[in-house]
Amino acid sequence: MNNYIYTDSLRLQELVYGLKIKEVMTRDIFTLPLRAKMKEAKQILKKNHITGLPVVENSRVLGMISMNDVINALEKGSMEEPVTEWMSRDVQVLSEDMSLSFAFSAFNKYPYRRFPVVDKENRITGIITFRNINLALINKLSSQLNELEHSSGENIAAERISGFTKVYTIRQYDFENGGKASAEIKKILKEKKLPDTVVRRAAVACYELEINLAAHSIGGMLGIDINSRRIKISSSDLGPGIENVDKAMEAGFSTASEWIRSMGFGAGMGLPNVKKVSDKFNIHSESGVGTMVRSVIYINNQ
């Protein structure tokens, strides 16, 4: 049983423990001095499209100003007041040498969407958001996947000459763009003059995985890697993970919301469809961590 469940070394959790916060965080950050006014906080947030700012003195984090604080101050007409009147002083910081797993639990434990990161002397060195984690893990995952392939002898460098690799970011609930990545992939495959059945199967796998990312995950990545022998489609996300993978593979089982169902999805056909069109299919998921799916379709194997 469970022949589609990953048994090799690719473990999301290991990645989460193996990376340090400082490898992942944003170092180039905006901060506010203690004497700054709320209107300055507003300007910085707006101009740089960010949603939170640490208030800092002598590299120490004394508070955080969020978009919400700015809105509240705006409503009360208090934009001339100093940020110290409005900032939250109850700031949770993370240490840069902690493993990424600490950041994970902090995001689960606290309602904040960003944490200032400090060094051993408690000086601010960066900020970490979920986006940082997402990008870092995806990078790590794709390099591990490549290594895995390499070690299994599946990938010969020369084959990549006519190959193609691309990673698409898929956002949660973004059905408006649903199918864009798949459409592009289909176009590329058609241009390569691959057999229609191969193109169709790859399109089905791509589309279902793309919709799954939008409907069920907090957002993730869809990767495509083509060489002369096979098309590999991999999807990875960072949550919430599938509680029961066996159930998710059953045709007709779905956890989709009414809204997703009303769009014509969520009938429990997605993953079974992907498996059906794949020559090789792996899924690895951990509740609270994330899900990875890999579909391989051979080109000359019809």
Partner: protein
Amino acid sequence: MIRLNDLKEINGITILNKVNTGKTVTGAYTSDLLSDVMANAEEGSVLITIQAHLNTIAVASLCGLPGIIFCSGRNASSEVINAAEKEGIVLFSSRYNQFKTSMIIGKMLEN
């Protein structure tokens, strides 16, 4: 053999955009479940559905469906129409429900 052009002659079915109307229709598939369409619709078929949104266009394009008939009088937003035009997919709106629409198309395909 019927062409997309022929569908607009049917009483109760209106055409919503005019691209590639000369394309042949080789069959039809009726479903409101896009994953089902994805898995089972044959290339060249016209899709009969009530799902009048962007994802329907995406699925039709991926499956090589040249036309879509939105049933029960559903209309398409300009966004949907634009997307369909870009993909070269002809859209129709049918006054009838999916069953009745399927019967009409079925008869045409038989002849």
